[in-house]
Symmetry: C2
């Protein structure tokens, strides 16, 4: 019987799960819409029923499930198997592993960006062949994952690799973490929207107004990038501002970790080569000791929407085989 | 015969070497004054003669030297055994290991702050029992060393852990690395002197003027700290400003690495408990997810002036026994 691993991508509005084989191929997957606001009890029951669905699918189709991995948007304790704190899930101190112990399967947890990075390294085309890899997911916030020497790096008690929460502007923009000037307040998709709105307020003749039909509610992550491609100077200003802050954060990780490659994921990374070329241009000659140090490769992440479940399954494979 | 390791602490004005045993005890040490400006040739000859002195001392006293470790203030390639770039040594692309091959001893190199961190973890009182440790040396610049899971972390090709070169103020103070706003331009001893001078210029009634006998040439790293202890408000302003930037950098490393402990070394760390208490107070509640994450301990480094040679010898022991 082929051995499979279940990867679970936990979100506040939906939970995705997939049966993944050792080659990182998805055999079966499904999504359950949830509402984390309804409380931890119903949420955990939803997780359980989704898992049972997958375990039964495996059984009926001649597979065997060996372990379950979770990617959680928040702070977890991988050793204890607990979700310590997750704002978007309205959870604090939830003993997830313990709750699922009757499934009689090993349960592993990590932060969602951590497992996504692991998944990219194991099964993504962009990170193939690299063993020192950083993933930045540019979404509402910035998630970070770090793989060092082919192993997931999580920090003491699994509480490190919070790459969105390094201050790059002391006394800067207020961050939800309590500090001011965190990287995620300057280089997340939310920051890009803020720059877009600010510039549109300052420049009523910007093409971006036309692009969003004169309604700021139509602004999204594409607005500035698409108008910049059309040659609008004010959109270009927004894009360059965003690239600068993103680049400064990336350069910090180059100097601190000196990975072989940095992958960009999340919504903003849909800009693909256009984004990557600009980031590379910004970072190209600025990293520490540049001509005497290896250039850090920068690429878009590969696994896109499946990054979460494949990453979580990768964690399960990894830990199960330790 | 007891086995010893030679640790070499390379500086632009002096080279220190020591014979160190497996317990981290210095059996013999000596220092050679050098002038790196005179060129790489004379500099390498000085290193060689210092090494021969130590090897002969060992031989005459019934010890056997097993390997040599170097801590270099600059960018090295640990694999190739080369000093790739070291401003203070006026060196670029120097094949140190190759030059010393006739000594018939294994030669290992790393950055000086890296080996100092390793030395603290192996033989320092402050880091005893910890396996995830960061060392920041607060001197002219800021050096950084990282030990993860009891192993030295150097980054790809040994070019990481440049903790002084993460930007904490985008578009901030010009750094020698080419970027603006690096941590070391805000929290090094040099930055402390800058803040001291600036405040004294702004406040002619500051006690700091009296402390340095009305001559700015007498300003040093003690000026602000000592006057703050005496209750001078302007000195206190300088100290608090310094602590804030130091604290922000430290918090970044808490979030990114989540080590168990951060050690402070270098000149500024001579302020001891007074400094540590203020840093702890600043960082105490600000790190990411603070009440749900382990508090990072902060202490002064232990090995002081011997950190360089003991660290370099630790590297030699470590690599030799791999």
């Amino acid at each position: 019987m082929e051995e499979l691993f279940i990867g679970v991508d936990v979100g506040g509005m939906s939970i995705k799960a997939a049966l993944v084989n050792k080659e990182g191929k998805i055999i079966y997957k499904s999504t359950k819409k949830v509402d984390a606001k309804k409380g931890t009890g119903p949420f955990l029951r939803d997780i359980r029923s989704l898992l049972i669905e997958h375990i039964e699918y495996a059984k009926e189709n001649g597979f065997i499930v060996k372990a379950i991995g979770f990617g959680v948007p928040g702070i977890v304790n991988p050793t204890l198997g607990t979700i310590d704190f997750a704002t978007n899930l309205y959870m604090e101190h939830v003993p997830l592993r313990d709750y699922l112990k009757d499934l009689n399967l090993p349960i592993y947890l990590s932060n969602d960006a951590n497992v996504a990075c692991l998944g990219e390294v194991r099964f993504g085309a962009s990170a193939k062949g690299y063993k020192d890899v950083i993933l930045l997911t540019l979404g509402t916030g910035i998630g970070g994952g770090v793989v060092i020497n082919n192993q997931l790096f999580e920090g003491n008690e699994g509480k490190g690799a919070e790459l969105g929460h390094e201050v790059i502007v002391v006394d800067g923009h207020q961050c939800s973490c309590g500090r001011k000037g965190c990287f995620e307040t300057y280089a997340s998709a939310s920051a890009l929207l803020r720059y877009t709105k600010e510039e549109m307020e300052n420049n009523k003749s910007s093409l971006m107004w036309e692009y969003c039909k004169n309604d700021v509610n139509n602004i999204n992550g594409l607005t500035s990038f698409e108008c910049a491609k059309l040659g609008d100077p004010s959109a270009n200003f927004v894009v360059n501002k965003y690239i600068k802050y993103l680049g400064e954060g990336i350069l910090n990780f180059c100097n601190v970790f000196r990975p072989q490659i940095i992958l960009l994921g999340g919504g903003v990374s849909n800009q693909g080569d256009y984004l990557i070329e600009k980031v590379k241009e910004y970072c190209g000659s600025r990293h520490y000791g540049y001509k005497n140090t290896p250039l850090v490769e920068i690429k878009c992440a590969s696994l896109k929407n499946d990054a979460g479940v494949i990453g979580a399954a990768s964690l399960a494979m990894e830990e199960f085989n330790k």
